[in-house]
């Protein structure tokens, strides 16, 4: 509920700003790529993950803009055996994120570079495939992003982005530990300018 209220608050904030400021450009980007977790336990169990994301980029008059989106990271792994266990238990992790950032845009001819900072609202779930174990959580985290787009058609651009988040959950199956679900995400795809 806390995360939901925060998301609603941020959304209203964006809505308010967007409504108050004249929009100059709106584009939509879609990308796929990799997620490289900073948490060692995450890497051991799941390795790097495949990520998908879609974002709305709303640039106002001047170089400032707002972005919001939807991201999903999912991967399958194997539970880590302690003390010599030899059985295999498949586990699956999924994270859904809503990034909300304010960005500054540089333009150099057909290339636009966006440098942004904001928050990510995350909902995550870890499931054991053959055992009735399940974990769900929510977390909001800081996020920084660098996105580059290069126009190839009138309304279409090649698009790539890199983002970093630190998502400290405060939860762990390991003693005295807090799993950080954050890491570095690299995406590539296309961007479409709406207006």
């Amino acid at each position: 509920m806390k995360a939901g209220r925060l998301a609603a608050g941020l959304a209203l904030f964006v809505v308010g700003l967007a409504a108050a400021a004249p929009a100059q450009e709106l584009s939509v980007s879609f990308g796929a790529g990799g997620f490289f977790p900073s948490e060692g336990a995450y890497r051991e169990i799941y390795g790097s993950s495949l990520s998908f994301a879609g974002d709305l980029w709303l640039k106002l008059k001047g170089p400032i803009g707002f972005a919001a989106g939807f991201g999903r990271t999912a991967d399958k792994g194997v539970a880590e055996p302690m003390d010599g266990g030899t059985e295999t238990y498949a586990v699956e992790f999924r994270r859904t994120s809503i990034p909300l950032v304010v960005f500054y845009q540089f333009e150099a001819g057909p290339v636009a570079i966006r440098l942004g900072a904001g928050a990510g609202i995350h909902s995550y779930r870890e499931t054991w495939q053959t055992v009735d174990l399940d974990f769900r959580g929510h977390k909001t985290s800081p996020r920084i992003v660098l996105a580059v787009s290069a126009a190839v058609l009138k309304r279409v651009s090649l698009f790539c982005s890199g983002s970093f988040e630190s998502i400290r959950t405060g939860e762990s199956s390991f003693p005295d530990a807090s799993i950080n679900l954050g890491g570095f995400q690299m995406l590539g795809g296309l961007s479409f300018r709406v207006f």
């Binding site: 995360a3 939901g4 998301a7 941020l10 959304a11 964006v14 809505v15 967007a18 409504a19 400021a21 004249p22 929009a23 709106l26 336990a41 995450y42 169990i45 709305l56 709303l58 919001a68 939807f70 792994g77 539970a79 880590e80 302690m82 003390d83 010599g84 266990g85 030899t86 059985e87 238990y89 586990v91 992790f93 859904t96 994120s97 809503i98 909300l100 609202i121 995350h122 909902s123 870890e126 054991w128 055992v131 009735d132 174990l133 399940d134 974990f135 769900r136 959580g137 959950t169 405060g170 939860e171 762990s172 199956s173 390991f174 003693p175 005295d176 799993i179 679900l181 709406v194 207006f195």
Partner: protein, 592 residues
């Protein structure tokens, strides 16, 4: 136009948001370190007897680390020897205690029951007495033997010869047991049906006929020889006297016999009683029919009816002596058993089970917190085999019979007694004779005891597969980011006459086993991934033969994992709602 275009992203953003829906670790000294200290260490005159209150803040680990010489555990306190250094350490560690006597090195202390009206006053008239609980006092005298000074009729117990600290458990009252039932085994029913009222009456009469069985008399010695002969006549194994010294210069003998188990000969269940007696004329007349020819007759009858049947476990039949002097016979026995590392799995002590002040009479089953499972099984056996009501009482302070030294040495033990407090008007009198007993009640109590004993020792049935042996378990932990799963891997030795096996699990040791394998297990290993939230769980295996007959349960493999669990802090779940434990310490491995 451009301005109006900003409405679209606003709607999209809102849609996205909605869619997301979004222990005081201590260097614990080993128990043996505590037991190596003795009263002699403080014979410089500084030794005190202290009462340590069992407050919620008290940690046994602290007492162990300080090597406090605890000699008696009661319900609300511990009684311990302490020199000046100990007292300083206890104070510095915030342990609450009171000094009962500052000259403990040269004293003989007794724990005495003072529930009877006027008991404390009579005790103080005979020597020094300090009430340490509402119904319990410590008694000592300036000179001479406290045992000889303690007023007749008051239950008493001498301190154990070693520290009991390794077996003190400051745990809260045990959780209510699950619904317990006995197997209702036809073979056990047959054995129980062999219990004979006339045999019981004859054995009580036989013991009563020694006139007195006061432990220091030759009559008691003769009674012991009669018991030895009776056990021998039954063809029991290893019938023997075990001699001990008591109260300085006296000697007496416990009479021990056993029916050796065929599957687990090293694991022992004990049924015991004391055969000595007392009265105001104890040197000449102490018939002790109820106290405790009744219990001893029951032990003899149990030996008689069980002797012909092969059993999985060893059953030891013991008649203790010098109980009336302060539990000396059982004290010597239990202490030696612990020193020898004997695996005694449970003790049934029968003391005064023949007098009924009103019918129907209930048996009182008294246990400590470590033995509640025995009482629960007794109640179930009593209801089914003995047709006798029984009431369980968890009372660490009821230390006035031969079960208590077993408690002191960490063994599970119960006391079966007709009333608590006693109502027998002939108790410890020359009038405690057979004609005052209710033989029907004695028979029912004996049948309940035999039923429990047979359930525990497991008669081997002809034509059934043999009981599996060699059961052990490994615990493996598997972790994901937010959940951990502990898998218990069971292994056992193959039985030649088994076609498959069944696996049973309980989270209440020794009680309430439930089969957990949905289909027959044909191999000799099984992994249980569902022990999840149980803090303690035990397993047993049975063998199933070609005709579908199922063997007795194997000895259990038990995991005590409560201290390994660390509750998860997040909204983790097993199934619908229960929280998932996660391991915070290295995993224990290897089971008996």
């Amino acid at each position: 136009m451009r301005h109006s275009g900003s409405v679209l992203p606003v709607i999209l953003v809102c849609g996205l948001v909605i869619a997301a829906g979004l222990p005081v670790a201590s260097s614990e000294t080993s128990g043996s370190a505590a037991t190596t200290r003795s009263v002699a260490r403080g014979r410089d005159g500084s030794l005190a007897l202290i009462r340590i209150a069992k407050t919620p803040a008290l940690r046994v680990q602290v007492l162990t680390r300080l090597q406090i010489d605890v000699r008696q555990e009661l319900t609300t306190c511990l009684l311990a020897y302490a020199d000046r250094n100990d007292i300083d350490l206890l104070r510095r560690n915030g342990v609450r205690f009171t000094v009962l006597d500052r000259d403990a090195a040269r004293r003989e202390f007794l724990v005495v029951g003072i529930a009877a009206p006027g008991a404390l006053a009579s005790l103080r008239a005979a020597g020094h007495a300090a009430a340490v609980e509402p119904s319990t006092a410590v008694f000592w005298t300036e000179e001479g033997s406290a045992l000889e000074a303690v007023p007749a009729g008051l239950p008493r117990k001498a301190f154990p010869s070693r520290s009991v600290l390794p077996y003190v458990r400051m745990r809260p009252e045990p959780a209510p047991a699950p619904s317990v039932s006995v197997a209702q085994d036809p073979l056990v029913e047959t054995i129980v049906s062999l219990v004979s009222s006339s045999n019981l009456a004859a054995d009580v009469q036989m013991l009563q006929d020694f006139q007195t069985r006061y432990a220091s008399t030759t009559n008691c010695e003769a009674a012991g020889e009669a018991l030895f002969a009776a056990f021998s006549a039954l063809g029991l194994d290893n019938v023997r006297f075990e001699q001990f010294t008591f109260s300085g210069s006296y000697t007496s003998r416990n009479v021990v016999a056993e029916k050796r188990g065929e599957t687990y000969p090293g694991d022992v269940f004990i049924v015991c009683s004391h055969y000595d007696s007392t009265s105001p004329s104890r040197l000449t007349l102490a018939p002790g029919a109820d106290d405790n020819a009744s219990g001893t007759a029951a032990v003899l009858e149990a030996a008689r009816v069980l002797a012909p049947y092969p059993l999985d476990y060893t059953v030891r039949f013991i008649a203790f002596s010098a109980e009336e002097w302060g539990l000396w016979g059982s004290r010597a026995y239990a202490s030696l058993a612990r020193l020898g590392g004997q695996p005694i799995l449970g003790v049934i002590n029968l003391d005064m089970i023949g007098y009924a002040d009103a019918m129907p009479e209930d048996l009182q089953i008294i246990v400590n917190g470590n033995s509640t499972w025995l009482a629960d099984l007794f109640l179930a056996a009593g209801a089914h085999y003995g047709v006798v009501g029984a009431t369980k009482t968890v009372d660490q302070s009821f230390v006035y019979s031969d079960h208590s030294p077993f408690w002191d040495n960490g063994y599970p033990a119960l006391l079966a007694i007709e009333d608590n407090p006693l109502t027998n008007p002939y108790y410890h009198r020359t009038t405690d004779t057979l004609d005052t007993l209710n033989i029907d009640f004695l028979t029912s109590a004996t049948r309940a005891s035999v039923g429990l004993l047979a359930e525990l020792a497991q008669p081997i049935k002809a034509g059934y597969p043999r009981t599996p042996v060699g059961l052990y378990a490994d615990l493996f932990v598997y972790r994901s980011l937010f959940n951990s799963l502990h898998t218990v891997r069971l292994h056992w030795t193959a039985q030649a006459d088994a076609t498959s096996y069944n696996i049973y699990r309980t989270n209440t040791p020794h009680l309430g086993y439930v089969k957990i394998n949905p289909t027959p297990v044909t191999g000799t290993a099984f992994s249980d991934t569902n022990a999840g939230s149980d803090p303690t769980f035990s397993y047993a295996v049975t063998a199933v033969g070609p005709a579908g007959l199922e063997s007795n349960r194997s000895r259990d493999a038990e995991w005590m994992t409560a201290r390994l669990f660390r509750p998860a802090t997040g909204p983790t779940s097993i199934g619908a709602s229960s929280s998932v434990p996660s391991f915070g310490f290295p995993v224990l491995r290897g089971i008996r």
